[in-house]
Amino acid sequence: MLYREVGQYKSSYAADMAVFPILQDRIGIAVILVIAYVVFPLIGNDFLLNTILIPFLIFSLAAIGLNLLTGYTGLLSLGTGAFMGVGAYACLKLTTIFPHVNILIWVLVSGLFSSAVGVLFGLPSLRIKGFYLAVATLAAQFFLEWCFIRIPWLYNYSVSGAIEVPLRTFMGVPMTGPTATSLTRYLAVLTIVVVLTWVASNIVHGRIGRMWMSVRDMDLAAELIGIRLFRTKLLAFAVSSFYCGVAGAMMVFLWYGGAEAEVFAIDQSFLILFMVIIGGLGTLIGSFFGSALIYILPIGLRLIPGNFGVPIRPAAAEQLTFVIVGALIIVFLVVEPNGLARLWQIGKQKLRVWPFPY
C-alpha cells in the first residue's frame, strides 16, 4: 500500500545502484535520523539516553566492525573485545599525552591503533581459515587482555588499575568525565555511529566490499580472478578492528566514564559475535537489529514486572529474562537462520506485493 515502488523510474545508472533505491526507504531513513537527532534529545531522560541508546549505538558499531570481518569477508574472529580494548587504552594514552586535542579526534584516531593490532593478529588468516582462525584470534584476545592487566603504563599507573576518564571539553561543553551530560555524549556517539555506518555502507557496496564478499564465497576463485588475498584479508582485519577500536574508545569515554580491563574480556567478544549472528551475517542493518535484541530486549524484559506491578523478586526476574531471551534467540534462528536482517527483508518484500501473497 504505502510501501510500493510503482511509478518510481530509474533514469540513470547511479539511481539504479543507489543503496536505497526506493523513495519510501529514503523517507524512512530521514525519519529515523530526525527521531534520533531531535525527538530523543527532546523527550529522552538519562535512563533512555545513557542506559539504552548510547550502549545500543556503541554495540551496533562494534557489531558492524565484526560484521565486516565475519559477515562480509568470512573470517571468524573471537578477538573483538580485545580490539575494543586497544581502542580504549589508545584513546586514554593519546588524551593523556596530548590533552589539548579534541577528544572526539582521539576517539577516531585510536581506531587506527586498533587497526594496526588487528592487522598483526590477522596475519595468520592468510594460512588458516574457519575454526583455526578463531583460535588464532582467541590468542589475540588473551594476549591483549593480559597486556591490559599487566602493563601499568597503559592505565597511567593508576592504583585501581582502571581507566579513569578525565574531563575533556568540546567548545567549552564537557564531553567526557563526570560533568558531561548524557545528551552531549549521546549526540557525539550518534554522529560518530551515523558517519561510520555511512562509510561502511559505501565500502561494502563498492569495489572493496565486492572483493571481501568474493573472498568469503570462495577464496580460490577470488584469487583466480585477480584478487590479492593477502591485501584483501588484511584490509578486512584493519577496517574491522578500526570500527571495534572506535566502539571501544566510545564505550569507555562516552558511556562508562571509567572501566577495568575486565570489560574487554572474552564475554564481550562473544556478545558482539552473537549480535552479528542473530542480526544477520553480511548486513549492516542486521548489526543494529542484533544489538537491539541482545542489549535492549533484556532491559525491557526486566522493566516489565515492575511496571505492571507483578510481585516478582528482581533476582527471579533476572533469571526469567535469561530464559526468555535465550528462548527468543532460538525461535528467531529457527524461523530465520539468516538472522533478523533477512526477516526484515522478507517483511519488506511482502509489503511491496501486498495484498497479494506473491
Binding site: 535512563f47 539504552i52 578525565p166 560533568t179 511496571n307 528482581p314 533476582a315 511482502k350
Partner: protein, 441 residues
C-alpha cells in the same frame, strides 16, 4: 501468519520499555540495593543482601522505619556485571535514593565520578577505591571501616604478634596469593613498603581471573618457595580452590590468612575438615548471638518475610550485610539530627556519613555489642581505618580468634594520600571540595 504473530510479539516486547513510568512519590526514604543474587558470585551476594534486606525490614517492622519515616528498600539485580550496575543506578536515580551501595569494584569506579554530580553519596563498605578514603578529594565517597591496605597491614601486625615482635619478621618469607585483577593487586604496594621496613621477603602468587579453579602450578611454586606465611586477597571460586590446593601441598593452615572477601562459610566449606585452623580477616561479628539479630529473627525471619533460611542468619557475610545496613541507617539518623527534617535527601545523608560516630556504647545500644570496632568518620577521613579481627574456621563454623587489630596507620595513610593525589591529577577538572564540614556529633 506465523510471521505476523512473531512481528507482533516483537513489537510488543520492544514497546514495553516505553511503558516506563515515573516512580510514584511514595512517602519514605528510598534505599536501592544493587544486589547480585545471580551470576558467578551469587554465593556471596545472596548472603550479603539477605543481611541488608532483613535488617532494614526489621527496622520497618519494629520501629516503623528510622525516625518515624519508613524505609523503602528495593533491590536491583546486577549479577555483579558493571553494565547492569550502571543500568540499575540510572533506573533508580529518579526515585531520589539517599545512598548507593554498588557492591562491586567495577560499579563503584563508575559511580564515584557521578556521585557528586547526582548528589547521591556512595557507601562502599571496605571495597572499591582505597583512595576514596580521602574525604577532601572524595567528599561523596565513603569506604569504612577499613581499606584493603588496612587489611594487609593488620595481617602483618598479627603475624608480628605471633612471631614475637616486628623485629622477628626479618628474614621471613611472606607469600601473597592474589587475584590477578586490580582488586587482588591492591595490597602489593603496601606489602612491598612493609617488606622493605621490616626486612621480610614478599613473594607474589597471582591467580588469573580465568584460572580461578586451576591453581595447581601456583601451589607447586609455593611448595618450592616455602613461605612462612601466606596472605590471600581472593574472591569467589578462587578461595576454596586455593584452600584445597594448600591442603594438598600440606601448607600449615594456621599460617594461611585470607582477607575479608576470603572468609565466608562457602569459601572454606568445600575444602573439607582439613581447612580447620585457616583464618580470615573480618570486621563484623559472627553468629546469631546479638539482640538485634534476635530481633531480625523475631520480626522478619519467623514471620516468613524474607528469603533467608533461619540457619543462615548470622553467617559471616550475612552479618556483613547487617553491618552495611547499620551504617546506612546510622547515617540517615545523623542526617535527621543535623537537618531536623525526617525525610532526608542524598545530600543530607552525605553529611550524616561524614559525622558518623558509632562508639562502643552505640553498638551496644543498637543491639550489637562488640559487633564491630567503633567507627568514627570525619570530613578528611572517610574510612576511619578501624580495627579488624581474625576469625578462625574450626571445621564447621567461624569464630572470633583475636581482639581488634589496629591497622598500621602510619604506613597506610601516606599511600592513601598519594593515591588520592594521583587520581585527582589524572582526572583533570576533578571538582574541588565545596561541601561545608559539619561538626562531628
Amino acid at each position: 501468519m506465523r510471521l505476523k504473530l512473531l512481528a507482533l510479539g516483537l513489537a510488543l516486547v520492544i514497546a514495553a520499555p516505553a511503558a516506563v513510568t515515573a516512580a510514584q512519590a511514595e512517602d519514605g526514604i528510598y534505599i536501592p540495593l544493587m544486589s547480585y543474587r545471580t551470576g558467578p558470585y551469587s554465593g556471596a551476594g545472596i548472603a550479603i543482601f539477605n543481611g541488608m534486606h532483613d535488617y532494614l525490614n526489621m527496622l520497618n517492622a519494629r520501629d516503623g522505619g528510622v525516625g518515624g519515616v519508613r524505609l523503602i528498600v528495593e533491590e536491583c539485580e546486577t549479577g555483579y556485571d558493571t553494565k547492569k550496575g550502571v543500568e540499575c543506578y540510572d533506573a533508580t536515580k529518579g526515585k531520589h535514593p539517599v545512598v548507593s551501595t554498588p557492591y562491586s569494584t567495577g560499579i563503584t569506579l563508575q559511580l564515584i565520578p557521578k556521585a557528586s554530580v547526582d548528589k547521591i553519596p556512595v557507601l562502599s563498605m571496605a571495597y572499591g577505591l582505597s583512595a576514596s578514603a580521602d574525604g577532601n578529594d572524595f567528599p561523596w565517597v565513603f569506604n569504612p571501616p577499613a581499606t584493603y591496605w588496612d587489611g594487609a597491614s593488620a595481617f602483618i601486625r598479627h603475624i608480628a604478634d605471633v612471631e614475637g615482635g616486628f623485629a622477628k619478621l626479618k628474614g621471613k618469607t611472606i607469600g601473597l596469593v592474589h587475584l590477578d585483577a586490580p582488586y587482588g593487586k591492591e595490597p602489593i604496594p603496601l606489602l612491598q613498603a612493609l617488606a622493605k621496613d621490616y626486612g621480610f621477603t614478599l613473594k607474589l602468587y597471582p591467580v588469573p581471573g580465568a584460572q580461578m579453579q586451576n591453581q595447581t602450578s601456583l601451589w607447586l611454586d609455593v611448595r618450592r618457595d616455602r613461605p612462612d606465611w601466606i596472605f590471600m586477597q581472593g574472591w569467589g571460586a578462587m578461595n576454596p580452590t586455593a584452600l584445597k590446593e594448600a591442603i594438598k601441598v600440606s601448607f600449615p593452615m594456621d599460617h594461611f590468612i585470607g582477607n575479608w572477601w576470603a572468609g565466608g562459610e562457602d569459601d572454606v566449606r568445600p575444602a573439607g575438615p582439613e581447612a580447620k585452623g585457616y583464618s580470615a580477616l573480618g570486621f563484623s561479628g559472627v553468629g546469631q548471638n546479638y539482640p538485634a539479630i534476635h530481633d531480625i529473627l523475631k520480626y522478619v525471619v519467623d514471620k516468613g518475610n524474607t528469603q533467608t533460611p533461619k540457619e543462615k542468619v548470622g553467617e559471616v557475610l550475612y552479618n556483613r550485610g547487617v553491618m552495611n545496613a547499620v551504617l546506612i541507617v546510622e547515617a540517615i539518623r545523623g542526617a535527621q539530627r543535623l537537618t531536623g527534617k525526617k525525610q532526608v535527601t542524598g545530600e543530607d545523608v552525605r553529611r550524616g556519613l561524614e559525622t558518623l560516630n558509632i562508639t562502643e556504647a552505640r553498638w551496644k545500644e543498637l543491639g550489637l555489642p562488640d559487633f564491630a570496632a567503633p567507627i568514627h568518620l570525619s570530613c578528611a577521613d572517610h574510612n576511619g581505618h578501624n580495627g579488624i579481627y581474625l576469625a578462625r574456621w574450626d571445621g564447621t563454623k567461624w569464630s572470633k580468634a583475636s581482639g581488634w587489630i589496629e591497622p598500621i596507620k602510619d604506613k597506610v595513610l601516606p599511600l592513601i594520600d598519594s593515591a588520592a593525589n594521583s587520581y585527582v591529577s589524572a582526572n583533570a577538572g576533578w571538582p574541588k571540595r565545596s561541601e561545608a564540614c559539619d561538626k562531628s556529633s
